[in-house]
Point group: C2
């Protein structure tokens, strides 16, 4: 099987033009098939402030109302996505910016209203993800750049978690490619001692994860990320890597500097 | 050769939610391969007003400055494009929203600065348009929905004329498909008597166009549209149709109600 890299970046890269430029130069240089998934960053909040659109919360959970979904559709699907595409094109990388709605590449359902109505928020329908349509793009030299939006099959765009979109795509494409899912993180990897930047744990397996948890060595904030990583691996992804955006190219090789998570 | 319809809509459809909904239902019902090209509409101007971004003009020509290109990238490439995609997906039409930058589907160059610096405006590099990449999408059941933006190969998005993008695509794809280029217009077609809505001229050929011009029968405003239509036909497009959005389905048949322009 060919290698595939599914790489997710968030606000710490998107909101810093110099960091983004460096990241995109490295991303463009990756020779294998690759997919970039980007989050939203702070631009939507800043633009929302200018437009008088307030961030809404219920019980501490962020709500996506009518104004907010239009805002994030513009910013994530338009401004952020197309700026990345234009920069990658200038680097000779044939990027194609899409949302999950485009070509129905990431099917989703509107989150059901239970205790909280999250508004226009989508949950990925991972089992329906059309791997062959992604493959069609990848096998023809197209580099998908995915914004964190989906649709509800009833004509509306939905705000959707970028981490989940990245892992769902990695899972679906693991049937066809030997897939490494890379989460760009603010640190060099998962740290054994949260205050020591040099204490990166270079590999975590299921067995070592159980041991680290039993010893209560890990910072609690990293546990959900690791649980999600092992869920992706259980669903067929070969490897998940958590590392810094600056180390992207190194982290696409065999000698990674971040944390490589495997079965 | 298979048929292909390249259909362009502008503000009179985009800015009217009911008209857009009707149009998209008809567009989704077209059975042949099809491409939708949309203009911008008034949403960008309205949002620009809210953000205090003024429309700039030099000698009566609209200029696309830094603020304006970000605005139209958000609105055309994000809000308008993705709303159309979500609506088409809900109608069972596998729409994929793109700009000319995505997959470099419509190569362009930044308009050279001569008497006027138009700013971030692109002119289509029609001779480099990658017909095979469009064909890849079309032949796999994907329906491209194109926003009027391109890129400059140096990392910037460019504002680009939607009519020209539509005709350039129709020309490039005429080598592979029997192509009808349809411009949705505010009237039912080209009128022989501009004040008489029932005076639609149902067919115009080069010979009849020469006669109509000699007799000075046509409204001057329509002449550039007809000149462009014949330029597309000279470059290989089988037919150009100018008609009302409400008549779309009829205008995809042999018995058109709009104005069919042929060699």
């Amino acid at each position: 099987m060919n290698n595939l890299f599914v790489i997710k970046i968030g606000g710490n890269v998107i909101d810093n033009p110099a960091a983004l430029e460096n990241f995109l130069a490295d991303f463009a240089a990756i020779r294998a098939p690759k997919i970039l998934v980007h989050g939203g960053g702070k631009i939507a909040t800043r633009l929302g402030d200018k437009l008088g659109i307030e961030s809404k919360y219920i019980d501490g959970r962020r709500i996506t109302d009518d104004e907010t979904i239009d805002l994030v559709t513009m910013v994530y699907g338009g401004l952020v996505n197309k700026k990345i595409v234009a920069q990658l094109q200038s680097l000779g990388c044939n990027a194609m910016g899409v949302t999950g709605a485009d070509g129905n590449l990431v099917p989703a359902i509107k989150r059901p209203v239970e205790e909280i109505d999250y508004g226009w928020v989508g949950d990925v329908a991972a089992e329906s993800l059309p791997a062959s349509r992604w493959q069609l793009l990848l096998d023809n030299g197209i580099v998908p750049v995915l914004a964190p939006l989906t649709h509800d099959n009833a004509g509306h765009i939905l705000n959707t978690n970028a981490d989940t979109m990245a892992s769902s795509i990695a899972v679906a494409l693991s049937a066809v490619y030997s897939t490494r899912l890379i989460y760009c993180f603010e640190k060099k990897g998962v740290l054994e001692f949260v205050e020591d930047e040099h204490s990166v744990i270079h590999t975590i397996t299921k067995a070592s994860y159980a041991r680290l948890k039993a010893e209560q060595k890990l910072f609690a904030g990293i546990l959900p990320k690791l649980d999600n990583a092992f869920a992706a691996i259980d669903a067929g992804v070969k490897e998940v890597l958590i590392g810094h955006a600056d180390d992207l190219l190194q982290n696409t090789t065999e000698t990674t500097t971040g944390t490589l998570i495997t079965a």
